[in-house]
Amino acid sequence: MRIVFLIFSLFVLLGAVACSIAFGVTDIPFAKIVEAFTHFDASQEQLIVRTARVPRALIAAAVGGSLAVAGTLMQVITRNPIASPSTYGVNAGAAFFVVLASGLLGIDGQAPLTWAGLIGAGASGAIVFVLGSLGRDGMTPVKLTLAGATIAAFFFSLTQGYMLADGRMFDQVLVWMVGSVAGRNLDQLLNVLPFLGIGLVIALLLSRHLNVLAMGDDLAKGLGQSTARIKGLASLAIILLAGASVAAAGPIAFVGIIVPHVVRYLVGGDYRWIVPYSAVFGAILLVGADLGSRYIAMPSEIPVGVATAILGVPFFVYIARKGRRVG
């Protein structure tokens, strides 16, 4: 049953990607989209499809799925329902390092910026982890959330301060800072894809172990799990997924919080299903949000990060009120 629904969801994703390619400021008929790949004639519509719409839709799908899976992993290993790459400052750290690398060091090109994103994600994640583990009772969800909020604010402030000081960066980075998948090319996607792919494979391989870890450290250890190893591998996957996502699309918030909750509600508590479903649903959410964001202030476009925030805030309040148990 769940496999049927998963395949159905994949078709929904496919449909969303197709709509994302077809609709926007210029609507392009589906037949023309196919022609852009079968009979390329360099017409304006075909150019829009090949250079703008397709990369944009695919990046949205890849980044959305990755952030959702990263959020799922974080919620399990910290047993905190509001954990996500954005609440724990991982996105902010990655963003700061990307801005710094491109501005201060003058690095250009997606490949080095991806590494900057990974390093930033790893660094901020490590800081939050250490801050959240200080004290006698070790790592607790409350301490981690506080540490995450602090580090997120810290890195965003540093980033903004740097952007203001270096005026020429302001315009180009501002849109990216909110989170946007527009104006990307296929090379940028291909650059981050290996990292996202490895992150996803690790997450899928870990899913069976997450079922045990979700019951808490004591029970997991009692069942013979090396919890430190599982958490270490999950952290690696989170850094790959979140760091590379930020490098490609900026620090998009809320996808990592919303999706795991929706998925758990739909498919129950088994992470062997939650992880793949999160990937597909995250992709659908971001492709959909990106599509929707083209219509909010047409003909100008709003970055997709704004759309996810509009969707995410009420959801966040709902989770906080309900206090859903993750683990």
């Binding site: 006698r136 069976r208 079922n211 045990v212 979700a214 019951m215 808490g216 004591d218 029970l219 250890k221 009692g222 069942l223 013979g224 799990q225 090396s226 758990r264 509600y265 129950g268 508590g269 088994d270 859903r324 148990r325 993750v326 683990g327």
Partner: protein
Amino acid sequence: MGSIEARGLTLSYGGTSIFESLNLTIPDGLVTVFIGSNGCGKSTLLRSMARLLKPRDGAVVLDGKDIARLSSKEVARKLSILPQGPSAPEGLTVLQLVKQGRYPYQSWLQQWSREDEESVRSALEATGMAAFAERPLDSLSGGQRQRAWIAMTLAQQTDIILLDEPTTYLDLTHQIEILDLLHELNGRDKRTIVMVLHDINLACRYADHIVAIREGAVYAQGNPADIVDASLIEAVFSLRCDVIRDPLYGTPLCIPHGKSARKNVREAFVH
């Protein structure tokens, strides 16, 4: 058979030492209950026996081997632990929970075997949870939920089962139900059961062996009828009481003395 003992065990928590070179042998195939006042270290000792807490010195020895030198999975095939107040992810069904008990037998290659299936089935039956297998854990009563957790530890097929206050948060009916179940499991399969209990009277009724802990040391141990008396209760719990024979079971029954509130009632009754 599963034998477990502490040899020269020194435990500390957050810098303060709790046990100093403790030696303790848990009798095989019996129900052992740790009693003691809050913060005396009984849960800490139980946790260290399941290697959830690293000893600062000494060792917990399982079937002749130091558990710190065994792999996590090896330990988990011989010894299971149910921590206090366990919680599962929302929406998890009883069957999904009990299946997790087979985790120590699985590897990247070996996923789900016939033996796993059989262990899960018999665990569900032994705990009377077979009818609830497909129910989400959240939809069950406290007692049923605790039985599901016990079923999970049973599916682990270990000779030794440790339980940290398995009856906390349960009403009296369910406390008795859970202790009856554990007694039954011990009688049927001769599994060694070690648990922490707060209720001294239930401890006396269900334990074959009581270990009374005071300030990080074993104050006394033995059969409840032999060791539990007013002086032991006073020493371990700092509580004055009379200990009489339980009129139904013949085991020690502790009648605590109150301080002042009901003193006149008691005096009127006694005279």
